[in-house]
Amino acid sequence: MNNGKMLVLNDLNVWYTPGKPVLEKLSMELGTNEVIGLIGLNGAGKTTFIKTLSGLLNTFHVKAAWWQGKPLLFRDREFKEERYVVFAEDHSFQFFTFREYASYVAASYGRKLSDIDELIYGFHFEEYTDVLLKELSTGNLKKAYLITAFALKPKLLILDEPVNGLDFQSTEYLYQQISSYRQYGTILFSSHILESICLTSDRVAVLEQGQIKRCFAGQEIKAEKIREVLKE
C-alpha cells in the first residue's frame, strides 16, 4: 500500500471556510532518510499543510494517510512521538528558559537529547540557554526551537521557514544540520529561499493552487531552473 515509504498522503483537502479549500487533492510521499523541500508562493498553503500534519487543524479530509505502513491519524500519540515541528511563528513556553524547554520536550518525547552542547555552540547560542524564551529576539527564539529539534532527532522533522530570522553563520550551520540529518530521519521543510532548498534537498515539491504541481529531484534541483519553471 505504501511501497516502503515513510509517509503517504492521498488526496488531502484542507479548508478554513467550507467550499473554499486551501489544499485540494494534495498527494505526497516521503521516503525514509531524505530531505524534501517545499516551495510555493505566499498563500500557496505551505503553513496550512504543515499545521495539518501537526494535527492542529481539524477541517480536512484525506482519502488515505499512511505512516510507516500503518493508517495515520495526525493526532495519534504514536505519530506525534515520531515527529517534531518548528513553526515559522512560534511563541510557545515563553516562561521557560531554553534548557527548561528542551528538558520538557525531551521528557514529553520520552528520550534524551543528544549533541545539544555541540548544537548550542554551532548556533552561537551559549549566552541564551538560561534566559526566558520571552526575552529572546526572533532569531534566537528560532534557534532555541531548531536546537531542540535537531537534538531530539525524530524520524520526521518538519521545519516551516527555518531560515527566517537567522544570521548568516547560523543559516550555514542550519544547512549543514539539514544535510547531515539523513542518518537520523527525514526532513520536510518549507522555504521561500530557493538557494536554501537547492543546497540541502533530495527532492523539491512545488505547492501551487493547493496541490503539489511539480517535483524536482537530483540534477533538476538548480535554483535557476526552478525559478524559470516557477515563472511559467
Binding site: K80, F93, Q94, F96, R99, L132
Partner: protein, 405 residues
Amino acid sequence: MIIFQNLSKQLFGAKYERAVKSLIACIILFLAIHTAGIEIAIAPSILLLTATAFSMGIMWQTLNSSENADRMTGLFMLPFRNREMTFSLVLAFTSYTLITKTFFVLALFFAVHEWSVLQIAVSLLCACNSCFSAAAWYTMKKRKKFLPVYLLWGGAIFAPIFLVRETMIICFIAFTSMLISFLRLLKVDAYVFYHPVSAKLLIKHTKGTGSIFLYLLRYLITNKNYLLNTAGLCVIAGAMPFILGQFEGVNVMPLGFAVLCLNTPICILLSCDPGLEQAVRTLPGQAKRFCTNYCFFIFSINMAVNSVYLISWQIGKSGVNSTEIIIALIITLQSAILSVLLEWFCPVRNWKIENDLWHHPRKYIVPLIMFLIAGLIGMWSISIWVLLCIVIAECFSLSLIVRRI
C-alpha cells in the same frame, strides 16, 4: 479619520460586525430580562457609579493591553498628525469599551428597573466621561505627581454621585471633566499610548528543570492582573466569614468556597496564550504532562485562597471541622478539573484584546457550577460524600484517559 477607521476595523472587524453583534446581544439581553418581568429597586447613584467605575476600569485595561503595541506598530510607523492620532486612539478605544462592555451592564440595569430618559442620558454621559478621563489619566501615569491628580480628579467625579446626587451637578462635573480631558489630550504626544516591549537586562534562571508548575507560577507572578485578582480574592476570603456568618440556620460556608473559585484569569491560560496552546497540541503526551500539572496549579492557588478563608472562619467564627476541609477540597479540586477540561476542549479563540478574554462568559461556567454544588451541599449535607466519590472517580478515570492521549 483614516486612523480612527483603521483602528475601529481592527477592534470591531472589517465590517464592524463585532459592534453589530454586541449591540444585538445587548438588545436581546434587555428584552429577555424585561419580558421576564424581573424588577429590582436600584438607586440612581448605583447606576451612575457602575457606569462610571466600570467604564473607567475597562478603558484603563484596554489602553494598557499588551496587544496594543502590535496593533499600533504599523500606525505609528506611518507619518501622522499628532492630535489626529491621539483623538482617533481615544475615540476608537472609547467606542470599543462602551459598545462591547459598558452597554451590556447598562442593558442589564435598564431591564430590571424603570429609568427616566434623563437618568439614562446621564448614565451614558458618565460612561463617556469616565473613558475620556481614563485616557487623560493614562497620559499622566509616568509623571511623578500623578497620584494627587488621580485622587483629586477622581474625587471630583465620584463625590457628586455619592454625596450630592443632584443630576445637574453630576452633569456639570462630567462635562467639565470631559473638557479638561480634551484639553489634556490636545497637548499630549500620541506616543504615550504606544508601549513597545523594551530591551531588558537578560536575567538567567539556572535552576529550572522544565516543570510546568514552575512555568505557570512564573506566568502568574509576571502578570500583574492575575496577581491582583488572587490578592483581591485573599482579601475577600479574609472578610467573607464575617459577612456569611450573619446567616443563621443555613450552612453558607460552601458558598464561600464557590466564590473563591472566581479566580478565573488563571483558568484561561491556554486561551490567553495561543502560542502555548499550539505547542501543547503539537507535542505528545500533553494531556498528562501539561493538563495534570495545570490542574494541580489551579488547585494549589485556589486552595491557598481557601486556606485564608478557613483560617478567618476559625478565628472569627465557631471553628472549622474536618468535614468543612473536605468540602473545600471537593469544590477546589472539582473547579480545577472542570477548568482544565474546558480549556482543553473548548478554549476561547478569535479574541481581539485581552479584555475580551477577561470578560468572556465562558469563564463563569465553572464558578456557576461550583455555586450549584455549594448550594447542594448547603441544603443536603449527605451530598458531600456523594460528591467526594464523584471527584475521586473523576480523578481516577481521567488519570487513565490522559495516559492514552
